[in-house]
């Protein structure tokens, strides 16, 4: 044969055939892969359906209370209506028994267990430690227990009977926090019942935890609800809060390891400035 004349035809006619052994190996493994993929697909579909069912169920207010009571750490960023900059940032930890909040460039740590209040001015400022005033301590204790101030009534049973919990079906509203379910809690303040309150909840359908809470008020039947503030809520881990505290107030051993700051400080020690 002259290769140079028929080279294209010869390549076209090249034929390599598989052996029966190869066929068996390939098909056995391909069938196994097909079965595995089918099982994985079934699991995936079942899981997707499960999530869909979970997400489709309406969320009740008591579920939100229940979900918040299981949470140990919360971060709340508060905004005034129409403002882009937050009014306050707050980190609360039940397990660490601390509350940290930022106003402007000042950070305050309320160490509830040690009854100490530490104040740090950033960037690079000194940390001042004083005993927590009793009224502040009581408020801080109340805030880190239960529902972190994310519901207007610390006990659901304290809610006025006429309060209404309703789903907000407006898609534009739901789009503010994608993937969330939106509910309004509306009530009036007795005994006059002329002050109308509305807290709007953007809730994660799966965890039942609020991701955003908007606080509205209207005065009188005729007026409209006005947005006053809104809170963006996230749920950090204990480690994340520890890191935050360490970064702002210094390492634990520096802060809490010094004997003069353990327990309730004596009045003479209060207000002693300490470099970070």
């Amino acid at each position: 044969m002259n290769h140079t004349d028929h080279i294209e035809r010869a390549i076209r006619e090249l034929r390599v055939t598989t052996t029966a052994e190869t066929d068996k190996r390939v098909l056995d493994d391909a069938f196994a892969a097909l079965e595995e993929a089918a099982v994985a697909a079934v699991i995936l579909i079942a899981f997707a359906l499960f999530l869909k069912v979970l997400a489709a169920k309406p969320v009740s207010l008591s579920q939100i209370y229940g979900a918040l009571e299981k949470v140990s750490n919360v971060s709340i960023v508060t905004f005034a209506a129409g403002k882009q900059e937050p009014v306050q940032m707050e980190w609360l930890s039940q397990t660490l028994k601390i509350s940290v909040f930022q106003i402007g460039e000042q950070f305050v740590l309320l160490d509830i267990a040690n009854k100490l209040q530490e104040t740090a001015s950033l960037p690079g400022g000194s940390v001042q430690t004083i005993p927590i005033p009793e009224n502040v301590l009581a408020t801080a204790k109340k805030k880190i227990t239960g529902t972190f101030g994310l519901v207007p009534f610390s006990d659901i049973n304290d809610m006025p009977r006429a309060a209404r919990w309703s789903n907000v079906s407006d898609r534009k509203v739901a789009a503010i926090v994608p993937g969330s379910k939106v509910y309004d809690l509306i009530w009036t303040t007795p005994p006059l019942n002329v002050e109308f309150h509305k807290w709007r909840y953007f809730v994660d359908g799966r965890t039942k935890l609020p991701k955003r809470v908007e606080v509205y008020l209207k005065e009188g039947f005729e007026s409209d609800y006005t947005l006053c503030t809104y809170e963006v809520v996230t749920y950090p881990t204990e480690a994340e809060i520890k890191t935050l505290v360490r970064n702002i107030f210094g390492p634990d051993e520096d802060r809490l390891g010094e004997p003069e700051y353990m327990g309730t400080p004596e009045p003479s020690r209060a207000g002693t400035p300490r470099k970070k």
Partner: protein, 180 residues
């Protein structure tokens, strides 16, 4: 083409018989392409195996835009390229003819190929990979130059050039073999 779409549709529903029929239909073509590209029958069988196992595993997500044959051949080419990268199989230039030592000139290769085919694939193995790909994909795989250009990420004219130069080199190589 219509039959292939129906087979893929059935396969997506977990029909093993559809997978078997697709395999029977394309196995020899894929093995020929892989063997011609790699010049190594063991490695080519591995490519065939991996193409079908991966095809079976991912068929649920498969959105077939072109033909099934092209899809499978392109999968095979990509695996071949991976093998080249992994094993650092170097492209063989024309000036190195005579120094080639393929690891597949053993009895298995002889059993599969006739003498003529063996000479041809040995000659192809001496071409640079890009030229070899164009020639094999066009002639054995039945792919158009445009499809090959897309696969190689180059222009049609470059692909046509690689085809012409490749064939010319192959003729030279085979003429040299014939004179021996």
């Amino acid at each position: 083409m219509v039959e292939d779409k129906r087979l893929v549709w059935e396969l997506k529903r977990g029909d093993k018989e559809a997978l078997r029929r697709i395999y029977e239909k394309y196995k020899d073509n894929l093995l020929t392409v892989a063997t011609s590209l790699l010049h190594d029958s063991f490695a080519a069988e591995d490519v065939l195996h991996d193409v079908f196992v991966s095809f079976a595993a991912s068929v649920g997500r498969l959105q077939l835009r072109g033909s099934l044959k092209s899809y499978l051949i392109i999968s095979a080419v990509n695996l071949v390229r991976d093998k080249f990268r992994r094993k650092k199989l170097r492209m063989v230039g024309l000036e190195q003819v005579g120094q080639i030592s393929s690891n597949s000139d053993g009895p298995e290769q002889s059993a599969i190929f006739s003498e003529q085919s063996r000479l041809l694939t040995a000659g192809l193995a001496k071409l640079p990979l890009e030229q070899r790909e164009v020639i094999i994909l066009h002639l054995s795989g039945g792919m158009k130059f445009k499809q090959i250009a897309n696969l190689q990420g180059t222009s049609i004219s470059t692909v046509q050039g690689r085809y012409r130069y490749g064939l010319s080199k192959l003729r030279t190589i085979l003429n040299g073999e014939m004179k021996k």
